[in-house]
Amino acid sequence: MAALSGFDWFVLAYFLALNLGYLLLFAIAAADFARSFRRARMAGHERIFSSPLTPGVTVIVPAYNEARSIVQSVHSMLALHYPELEVVVVDDGSTDDSFELLRAEFGLLRSARSVPPLLPVHGAIESVHTIPGDDTLVVVRKANAGRRSDACNAGLNAARMPLVCMVDADSVLDPEALLRVVKPFVDDPERVVAAGGVVRVGNGATIDDRGRLLDLVMPGSWLARIQVVEYLRSFLLGRTGWARLNALMIISGAFGVYRRDVVLDAGGLDLDSVGEDCELAIRIHRLMRHGRRAYRIAFVAEPVCWTEVPATLRDLRSQRVRWSRGLAQVLRRHRAMLANPRYGLVGLLAMPYYLAFEALGAMVELVGLAAVLTGLVLGAVNLPFALLFALTAIVLGVVLSVSAVAIEEWSFHRYRRWRDLGLILAAALLENLGYRQLHAWWRCRGLAEELAGGRAGWGALHRHGFERG
């Protein structure tokens, strides 16, 4: 009984620490937004477009069976407002007619363009195709090796620009997204080695054929609405906070820009990892620290990548189990960095935080919840304590989610309608009543699968596509 009671107090302290940690990150992020908005007029994005010194960008689009959206996606990438742009689509052994659609739409011809083997790629390169007289679009066809990272490495090999931007095939970027995410590289070319852009939920977005957002409303399903809040909290605010501390551990695979030479030095993406985006960012931290090079990994909150999130429990479960497994895998692989002062705040703060609150946190949450309920039944825990636990674990979580919504409303206000504000606030409440606990269960499964070993797969995500305007 005493042990149970003691454990309950530990869980209470855990939730308090978790939520206060998040609040601190939010405060850092909110201050960063306020600072950026006041300086927006002087940002000089239009100068980045017109300058001959702006580095070229290769947008790498790994694609596997994306027939439904690949043509529109490539059109939107080609329409990005950027002076020197190259789009490399890696057709990763698609079994549908993704390539044929691209070939017909863009008049692709087979090219003698070589793809130097700078990074390891397991799936053999079969052919390279370009538009006659125009090097802007390159399509590399390769055999599938079961990993997105394999396709990305092939794209990195084929890229010819000094910066590379890795996106998902179904990502839709704001037309100005590249100009904004490249700005840190322009402002600090010697130190900035990578920059992440924010990924937001695009379910409910209407876009045109050039990838421009025409209208944005909250998604129709509550599952997607809850993910809107989740993405605001974790992707927008959490990552802004970590980047401010130069301890950002994850650049989303859906939208990240890197110096190509640094990625090549780091060895490209890990072919065995399911958390390859996180794993690459950590490996870049290690590379820079070992080389004693002054560096920064930035996060830019304004350029937006819209992505379609899972709208069914089955797809969401598959995604979150994979994410959890990927994080556990990465933390295990780079455990030498944990609490190691050699790696600065990444080792001393970010990795312990991710271990304690992201990787293991799900287990603590679920076991803690079970322990409190058990304690209540057995009389080891009194009602006031149970209510205090509920306050700390749930109500404080609601405060966090609503804080994220409020910060978004004050800063980016992408959702214009009053109805959408009402829905997002309701989703912020619902997220903590059932969804969070279900998510914790999936995260535990991911952790268990990683500890049990075996090869993780990506699974198939069923997409509906964005509304077209």
């Binding site: 002087m42 003698a112 070589s114 205090l388 804080s403 919504v405 504000l421």
Partner: protein, 340 residues
């Protein structure tokens, strides 16, 4: 325990209510302010656009502070979009409204954003009288203010600012090399003399940026200095910048230095830049060296050599080297261009 619980619940509830109120309130206030602003701009914008076209046009006297601020905002916005004679009436309007004088004073404002905005306005209006204040701002403690000052000095275009801009590349409060280079490019040919001085005697970063800008601004008179830097500078970044500059200028005078670089076993980026530069300069004497560079193990060097051979009209050299993918790629490009 119970009182602490109730107190905590009360505090959290209050915080929640405050957050919801903040979000909703912000949305409501923003909608109202935007509607008011749009209405005022709808009245003033056509008058200001007419002023830009016809300086005899009169803009109504700004009776209230709100109207004056709107006029300033619109005039400034238009100023950033128009060129030539259309700028003058807008600058005069801003002068009349006292905004330029205020901007000069605000370069000393305690707030960094105000200093940066002031510098931005002074640059946009091209206020030569503010050069001294802007040079001082290059060492500001705030990065945005420093950047704005550098951009403004480029817009104003006074060559006297070149040495200060080059010096701003170094130190704890240094400004991005890209921002400085762009400012120097805007100053253009008037700044060539101090840039050549920087190429000869500055720090490595100053020499590199000086070389880059001399190339981008077509500094023909600097070719011999650039050729010297391309071969003799101890810093690889400076050498690469000088090589690229020679290619951009595209006139003879540096071929010997470029050929030496291409034929050396030095850094791949320099050799690739040298190959590209030789192609742009267009001296046929470089063809044998470029043909040999098709075998370079460094792919970017071989690719640059192949592109250079195309520029020199040496397709035949490519045609006999079908064993090299870079050559085949260039030939394919030529065929497709011919077919088109």
């Amino acid at each position: 325990m119970l009182s602490a619980l109730l107190w905590s619940a009360g505090v959290l509830s209050g915080v929640l209510v405050a957050l919801v109120a903040a979000a909703a309130g912000r949305k409501g206030v923003r909608a109202v302010l935007r509607a008011r602003r749009d209405a005022l701009e709808a009245l003033l914008r056509p008058r200001l656009m007419a002023l830009a076209v016809d300086s005899n046009e009169r803009v109504p006297h700004a009776g209230s502070r709100r109207v004056r601020r709107c006029q300033i905002r619109l005039a400034w916005e238009l100023l950033r979009r128009v060129r030539g004679d259309a700028r003058r009436p807008l600058v005069e309007l801003l002068e009349q409204l006292g905004e330029i004088a205020r901007a000069r004073r605000r370069t000393r404002h305690p707030g960094a954003v105000m200093r940066a905005r002031a510098a931005t306005l002074l640059g946009d209006v091209g206020d030569r009288a503010a050069v001294g204040q802007l040079v001082r701002l290059l060492a500001d403690r705030d990065a945005t203010a420093r950047r704005a000052a550098a951009v403004a000095l480029g817009q104003i275009g006074d060559p006297a600012a070149v040495p200060a801009l080059l010096r701003a590349l170094a130190g704890v409060r240094r400004i991005s090399a890209t921002v400085i280079a762009e400012a120097l490019m805007e100053i253009g040919a008037r700044g060539h003399e101090p840039l050549v001085a920087g190429l000869r005697a500055g720090s490595a970063t100053e020499r590199r940026i000086a070389a880059t800008v001399l190339g981008l601004t077509g500094a023909v008179a600097a070719v011999s200095d650039l050729a010297g830097a391309a071969r003799g500078d101890p810093d690889p970044g400076v050498r690469a910048g000088a090589i690229e500059a020679l290619g951009r200028i595209g006139l003879s005078g540096g071929e010997h230095a470029l050929a030496q670089t291409l034929g050396s076993s030095g850094v791949g980026a320099e050799r690739a830049a040298a190959a590209a530069a030789l192609g742009r300069i267009g001296d046929p004497a470089a063809i044998p060296l470029l043909a040999a560079a098709l075998d370079d193990p460094d792919e970017p060097v071989a690719r640059a050599a192949a592109s250079a051979l195309v520029l020199l009209g040496a397709d035949a050299e490519l045609a006999i080297r079908v064993d090299r993918p870079v050559a085949v790629e260039q030939l394919e490009r030529l065929e497709r261009a011919a077919a088109a």
